[in-house]
C-alpha cells in the first residue's frame, strides 16, 4: 500500500507501523469515581467496519508522526490522511459544538 503523507507525499506502507482504530486517541480521564467500563470499552471495543475505517499509523521510518488514515477495509482505498494532532483538535471542536 501507499500512504500519502500530508507533507512527505506518497510513502510505501512499510515505512509505517499500524496501531488501529483512531478512537484510541480519545482516552478516558481517570477521575473519581473511576469509570472502569469507560476504560474497558476504550481499550477493548474498537471499530471494526467492513468499509470506511479511521485508523492510526505511525511514520516510524519517516517523520515519526502519528497519522489518522481514512481507509476502506474492503478495497484498501485510502481516502484521507491527516496528522493525529489536527484530527484531534477538529474532533474536539466538533464535540464541544454539539
Amino acid at each position: 500500500m501507499i500512504i500519502p503523507h500530508p507533507y512527505l507525499g506518497p510513502r510505501d506502507a512499510c515505512e509505517f507501523v499500524y496501531k488501529g482504530d483512531a478512537e484510541l486517541v480519545f482516552r478516558p480521564e481517570r477521575v473519581e469515581p473511576v469509570d472502569y467500563d469507560a476504560f474497558h470499552d476504550y481499550l477493548y471495543l474498537r471499530q471494526n467496519p467492513a468499509g470506511i475505517h479511521k485508523e492510526l499509523w505511525y511514520h516510524e521510518y519517516g517523520d515519526r508522526s502519528w497519522l489518522v488514515v481514512t481507509r476502506n477495509t474492503q478495497t484498501h482505498e485510502i481516502l484521507k490522511v491527516e496528522f493525529a494532532s489536527n484530527y484531534i483538535s477538529k474532533q474536539k471542536n466538533r464535540k464541544s459544538n454539539v
Partner: protein, 977 residues
C-alpha cells in the same frame, strides 16, 4: 535434424551445447530449451503428475503445463523449469522429472492402467484402516509418488537482489499493443517502463508473419525498439515478469539477470523489483486453449499457434506429418505458415462446416471432430468422428484464445464472459490499470491499434502529458471467428488439466457427488491448481462444468487468479536478507575492544553484546562468569550498557508527561536525582522499566530495557502526539550518541576519581546513591554520571560521546590496573541482578503485573497514568495472585532450571496443582549455590515453605525453599556505601 535452413530469429553463428537426460545436444543463440529440444526431434520431456503418462512440449510460453524439467546440477539444480521459457545457454544441463526408471519406461505408468481406481478424491475415501497404517505406509508412498522436481537439499548458492522503480506508466507486455503504447508514451515524455517476460521483445509478432505498415511485423518491432531505446524516459525490461498487481499501483516484477555471459557470475541471478506506477497498461495478449478429445495429452499434440511460432521464430520442423485441429480461423494461419515453410501438412480438421477454406492445396475436413489418438511415446495417428484415421506425428490444436486477464484478478476482480469470442475478458480492473490488445478480448490487429491509440491518449492526458505526433498503424486483415464450445461431452480419456491429470471423468464424479460449485470442484479434483495455475485448463474445465450442470458458462462462474502470475523463487523474495545479513547488526562502542579480549558475544535483539570475557586457562563459561562476579563484588568491574534505550525528554510539561507514562510518581523528582520507573501498558500489565534522571526542570533522561527501546519510544510518541497533544514535550532517542558503561564494585568511586576532572566532586556526600549530573573526564570530555546500581554494589553509570568510547576503554583499563579492574559481560550482569532479585526480561514478559512483580505499592492510585486503572481489575489485583519471590534448592548440590513449574509437596505433578514457574536461575558464586527467581501463588506470604520445582521435560524434581528475592545484601548497604 528438424531445423529449417533459413527462417527464425536465432543466431546460427552461435552454437550452444546442452544436454537432456545425459544426451549431448546443441541449439543456437535465441533458442529456448524447448525449441532446441524440438530442433533435435525431441518431443517427450516428462511424465504426468498422477498417471505418469508420457508428456511432450505443449506450448511455447509461460502457460506450459507439461514441459517441466530439472535444470542444473548440485546445489544449483532447479526444479520445475518450463522448457518453453528458459533461454538456452552453453552447457545447460536439463533432466526430466517425476519418473521412476528411465523416462521412456517409467515404472509408475501402471497408475495409468489403475486410473479407474484413482479417480477424483479417491484418497479421501480410503487409507483409513488400520488406523496406524496411514503415517507408516500409505502416506510415505503417496508423498514419494507426488511432487514434481526436487530441491538439492543444500543452501541455494546464488545471490539475489531487490530494487524499487518509479514511473508514470508501466506497460506490461511488449507485443503489438504494448510497443504501440510504449511509443506513444515515450514521445509524450512520460516516464515509462516496458516489461516483458520474454528475452525477445515483440510478443506474438516474433512468431507471426504479420504485415504492419507494409513492413514485416518483425522489422516493425526492430525499428520500434530502436526508437524506444533512444529515449531517456524509457526503461525497457526484457526477461522481466510482472508477477503481481498490488494495492495503489504497486507491481511486483522479477527480472532474470542470467544470460549467455552471466550464467556463472557471482552477481545476483535475479532481481525482484517493486514498481510504483501512477498508471499501468496491461498488454499481456492471449493464450491458446486446447480442444477436448480422447487421449488429447500425447507428446506431439501441441497448441496450434505454438507450432506456428516454433516454425517461424525458431525455424523448427515440428513434425514430418503435421495435422491441424481447429475450431477457429487461427488454425488455418498455422497451416498456411507451415506450408510456406515447406512442412508437410497432412490434414486440417475444422469443427466448423460453414467456412470458406482460406488456403489451397491442403487436405482438409470441415464439420468434423477428432475422437481419439494413438501412439505410445508420441502421437502416431488420430481418428475422426467419421472413422477416418490419419497418420500424424504432430497435431496442432486450436480451441480459441483466452485473454491473459490474470493481473486484473490480483485485486480480486472477476473476469466476465464475452459471448462474441467465447472467452473471459477482464471484469473489475484494478484502479489505475487499463487493458488493451488481445488481453482485453480484441483479436484483430487493426482494431487493437485504433483502440490502443484512443486509450493511450486518455491515459497520457490524465498523467498530464501531451500525445506527440501521429502514430498510424495498419496491419494485414486477419479475421478471427471461433466456434462455441462443443455441446456434447467428449468420450474416452479426455484431459482438461494436463499438469494435474484432471480428466472429464473426474469432473463428472465431482459433480455427481455434489462438488459442483467452481471452488469445490477445483478443490476436489485439483483442476487448475498446478504450477500453471490452470492457464490452459480453467476455461476448458468451466466449459465441461457448464455442460454437466447444463447452465451457460457465465452462470457456472469462474475462479480468480492470484499472484504470482508465474512462480517466483523464494530466494528472490528474500533478496539479500539471508545468512548473516538476515538482520542488521548493532555493535556496542566497546565491541572492537571486547573482540581483542576474546569476548564471547550474544545476540540481544539486533545488538551483539559481550557475554563474558574468558581468560587463559578458563575451561568453562561458568569459570569466567563466576570470576567476573567475584572480582566485581570484590573490587571493580566495567560493563558496556549502551544497548539500554536512552530517550531525552524535554519541555515545560516533561515532568507531568513522565507522571503520566510511568505508573509511579515522577513530578516531584528533584533535579540531579534519578528514580526507578515502572511503565505499564494501558491494560495494566507491566510493559518496561528503567531509571529516569532529571538534569533540569524541563530535561529528563530516560533509560529503557534493550529489547523494548523501540516500542517504548513509539508508545511515548503516541502518548505525546495523541493523548497529550497540547503539552510541551519533546522526545529524542539518544541511544547511539552516548556510550554508557556500568562501573560497579567497592572501588568504583576510587577508579572514577582517577579519570574525572578535579572540578567534579563525586564524594558520597555530594553525589549519593541515586544522584546524577554532568561531569567532565579525561581533561574536558563532557560526560553524564548516574549513581545507580543493577549489581547491588557501589556503582555508577557513565555516559560519554560515542566517538571517545574505544579510547576511553584503553585508558580506563590502564588506570584501573591498580584496582585490577575487569570487564564483565551480560552473564555476570545477570547473575548479580538475580542475586539482588531485580526483575528483567524473563520477569517482564508481557503477562505479569506490578503486583506479580511485588511492585504493586508503587502504582499510583491518585493521578491518571497509563495502566493504573485497568490494573485494578479483580483478576489482576485480587487475592492469591502470583508473586515474584526467590527459590533455593534445599540440597545445595542441585541446579535449578528456568521454566520449571511449582507443585506443592506431596501433590502429583498435574496442571490443577500448578502454582507457578521459575523465571530466571543462576549459580551464585557469592552464596555458592544455584538460586532462582520465579512466580508462585501468594509467594510473598510463603517464605520458608518448601515446594517441588518440577521439570518433566527432563523428568526431574527438585525440592526448593521459597525465599525473599533479595539473596545478597538484602539491606542494600553496599550500594549506598
Amino acid at each position: 535434424m528438424f531445423r529449417l535452413e533459413s527462417r527464425g530469429l536465432i543466431n546460427r553463428e552461435k552454437r550452444l551445447n546442452f544436454s537432456f537426460n545425459g544426451k549431448k545436444l546443441y541449439g543456437y543463440d535465441g533458442d529456448t530449451l524447448a525449441s532446441a529440444l524440438l530442433a533435435n526431434g525431441n518431443h517427450l520431456v516428462g511424465r504426468s503428475f498422477k498417471y505418469h503418462r508420457p508428456r511432450g512440449i505443449f506450448s511455447s510460453g509461460s502457460e506450459e503445463p507439461s514441459a517441466l524439467v530439472q535444470v542444473g546440477l548440485g546445489a544449483n539444480t532447479e526444479p520445475n523449469i518450463r522448457a518453453t521459457t528458459i533461454q538456452l545457454f552453453d552447457d545447460l544441463v536439463a533432466n526430466s522429472q517425476n519418473h521412476f526408471g528411465p523416462l521412456e519406461w517409467d515404472f509408475m505408468r501402471v497408475n495409468d492402467f489403475l486410473s479407474p481406481f484413482l479417480s477424483a478424491g479417491f484418497y479421501y475415501k480410503t487409507f483409513m484402516w488400520p488406523k496406524s497404517f496411514w503415517e507408516k505406509i500409505y502416506e510415505p508412498i503417496i508423498r514419494k509418488a507426488a511432487g514434481l522436481g526436487r530441491l538439492s537439499g543444500e543452501p541455494d548458492p546464488s545471490t539475489y537482489d531487490k530494487g524499487f522503480l518509479h514511473c508514470d506508466l508501466l506497460i506490461i507486455g511488449a507485443g503489438p499493443s504494448g510497443l504501440q503504447s510504449a511509443l506513444m508514451a515515450a514521445r509524450s515524455g512520460a516516464k515509462v517502463i516496458v516489461a516483458d517476460e520474454d528475452f525477445l521483445l515483440g510478443g506474438s509478432l516474433n512468431g507471426d508473419h504479420t504485415q504492419i505498415n507494409n513492413d514485416t511485423g518483425v522489422n516493425w518491432v526492430k525499428k520500434t525498439i530502436e526508437e524506444l531505446m533512444s529515449f531517456k524516459n524509457v526503461r525497457l525490461m526484457p526477461k522481466t515478469t510482472i508477477y503481481g498487481a498490488f494495492d495503489h499501483g504497486i507491481f511486483g516484477a522479477l527480472e532474470i539477470k542470467t544470460n549467455l555471459e552471466r550464467v556463472k557470475s557471482d552477481k545476483p541471478r535475479q532481481v525482484l523489483w517493486r514498481i510504483y506506477a501512477k498508471q499501468s497498461v496491461l498488454c499481456s495478449g492471449s493464450s491458446e486453449r486446447s480442444l477436448l478429445f480422447g487421449n488429447n495429452d500425447r507428446p506431439g499434440i501441441m497448441l496450434s499457434r505454438s507450432v506456428r511460432q516454433y516454425c517461424n521464430r525458431w525455424g523448427i520442423i515440428p513434425g514430418k506429418k503435421i495435422s491441424i485441429y481447429t475450431n477457429n480461423d487461427d488454425g488455418w494461419i498455422t497451416a498456411k505458415d507451415l506450408k510456406e515453410a515447406g512442412c508437410n501438412v497432412v490434414m486440417v480438421i475444422d469443427e466448423r462446416s460453414d467456412i470458406v477454406v482460406p488456403i489451397k492445396n491442403v487436405d482438409y475436413r470441415l464439420g468434423k471432430k477428432v475422437m481419439d489418438t494413438k501412439g505410445s511415446l508420441r502421437i502416431s495417428s488420430l481418428r475422426l468422428d467419421d472413422g477416418t484415421t490419419v497418420e500424424t506425428d504432430c497435431l496442432a490444436v486450436s480451441g480459441g484464445f483466452n485473454p491473459n486477464v490474470h493481473l486484473t484478478c490480483h485485486e480480486r476482480g472477476r473476469p466476465q464472459w464475452q459471448e462474441k469470442n467465447h472467452c473471459f475478458i477482464p471484469g473489475k480492473i484494478p484502479k489505475g490499470m487499463e487493458v488493451v490488445g488481445a488481453a482485453s478480448g480484441a483479436f484483430d490487429l487493426n482494431n487493437i491499434f485504433d483502440e490502443t491509440s484512443l486509450k493511450m491518449k486518455k491515459i497520457l492526458s490524465y498523467l498530464g502529458y501531451k500525445h506527440q505526433g501521429k502514430i498510424k498503424l495498419t496491419a494485414a486483415q486477419k479475421p478471427y471467428n471461433v466456434a462455441p464450445f462443443s455441446k456434447s461431452l467428449a468420450k474416452g480419456k479426455v484431459w482438461v488439466d494436463l499438469q494435474n491429470d484432471v480428466t472429464i471423468k473426474d469432473i463428472k464424479i465431482a459433480v455427481q457427488e455434489g462438488f459442483h460449485s467452481v471452488e469445490l470442484l477445483k478443490r476436489y479434483t485439483t483442476l487448475g491448481m498446478a504450477t500453471d495455475q490452470g492457464k490452459t485448463s480453467n476455461v476448458l474445465g468451466l466449459s465441461v462444468l457448464s455442460l454437466l450442470k447444463n447452465e451457460p458458462i457465465e452462470k457456472v462462474g469462474t475462479t480468480i487468479y492470484r499472484p504470482p502470475f508465474t512462480p517466483v523463487p523464494i530466494g528472490a523474495f528474500a533478496g539479500r536478507s539471508r545468512g548473516k545479513h538476515f538482520k542488521p547488526v548493532r555493535l556496542t562502542p566497546s565491541h572492537q575492544w571486547a573482540e581483542q579480549r576474546n569476548a564471547v558475544f550474544v545476540e540481544t535483539g539486533n545488538w551483539l553484546r559481550a557475554q563474558w570475557f574468558p581468560l587463559e586457562g578458563e575451561l568453562t563459561w561458568r569459570e569466567s562468569v563466576d570470576r567476573e562476579v567475584l572480582q566485581t563484588r570484590e573490587s571493580v568491574g566495567i560493563c558496556d550498557v549502551t544497548t539500554l534505550g536512552k530517550i531525552d525528554i524535554k519541555g515545560r510539561d516533561a515532568g507531568a508527561f513522565l507522571n503520566f507514562v510511568y505508573a509511579n510518581n515522577f513530578g516531584k523528582l528533584a533535579v540531579g536525582k534519578v528514580r526507578y520507573g515502572l511503565m505499564l501498558r494501558d491494560d495494566g500489565i507491566a510493559f518496561d522499566d528503567g531509571t529516569t534522571a532529571r538534569f533540569a526542570e524541563d530535561h529528563f533522561v530516560m533509560t529503557t530495557t534493550t529489547t523494548n527501546a523501540v516500542t517504548v519510544f513509539r508508545h511515548l510518541e503516541f502518548c505525546r502526539q495523541c493523548l497529550k497533544p497540547t503539552w510541551d514535550v519533546h522526545l529524542l532517542s539518544t541511544t547511539d550518541h552516548w556510550a554508557q558503561f556500568a562501573i560497579a564494585g567497592p572501588n568504583s568511586r576510587a577508579l572514577l576519581s582517577e579519570i574525572i576532572d578535579s572540578k567534579s566532586d563525586i564524594s558520597n556526600a555530594s553525589f549519593p546513591f541515586m544522584a546524577c549530573g554532568k561531569v567532565s573526564i579525561f581533561n574536558g570530555i563532557e560526560a553524564r554520571l548516574f549513581r545507580i546500581s543493577f549489581s547491588g554494589e557501589l556503582a555508577y553509570e557513565l555516559a560519554l560521546p560515542r566517538r571517545y568510547a574505544s579510547s576511553f576503554m584503553e585508558h580506563i583499563f590502564e588506570t584501573g590496573k591498580k584496582f585490577n579492574l575487569i570487564p564483565y559481560g551480560t552473564e555476570a550482569l545477570g547473575v548479580m541482578r538475580i542475586e539482588k532479585g531485580h526483575a528483567a526480561g524473563n520477569e517482564l514478559n508481557g503477562q505479569t503485573t506490578a503486583n506479580n512483580l511485588g511492585l504493586g505499592k508503587m502504582v499510583s492510585k491518585l493521578n491518571d497514568c497509563i495502566g493504573n486503572t485497568m490494573s485494578e481489575r479483580e483478576k489482576i489485583d485480587g487475592e492469591g495472585i502470583l508473586k515474584l519471590v526467590g527459590f533455593a534448592p534445599t540440597n545445595k548440590m542441585q541446579t535449578l532450571v528456568a521454566g520449571s513449574h511449582f507443585i506443592p509437596k506431596g501433590k502429583p505433578a498435574k496442571l490443577q496443582n500448578d502454582e507457578g514457574w521459575m523465571s530466571s536461575v543462576a549459580f551464585s558464586p557469592m552464596l555458592n549455590k544455584s538460586i532462582g527467581l520465579g512466580f508462585i501463588k501468594a509467594g510473598d506470604q510463603r517464605y520458608g515453605e518448601k515446594v517441588d520445582s518440577v521439570n518433566p521435560l527432563n523428568k526431574e524434581v527438585i525440592e526448593v525453599e521459597i525465599t525473599s528475592p533479595h539473596f545478597f545484601d538484602p539491606e542494600g548497604d553496599r550500594l549506598r556505601g
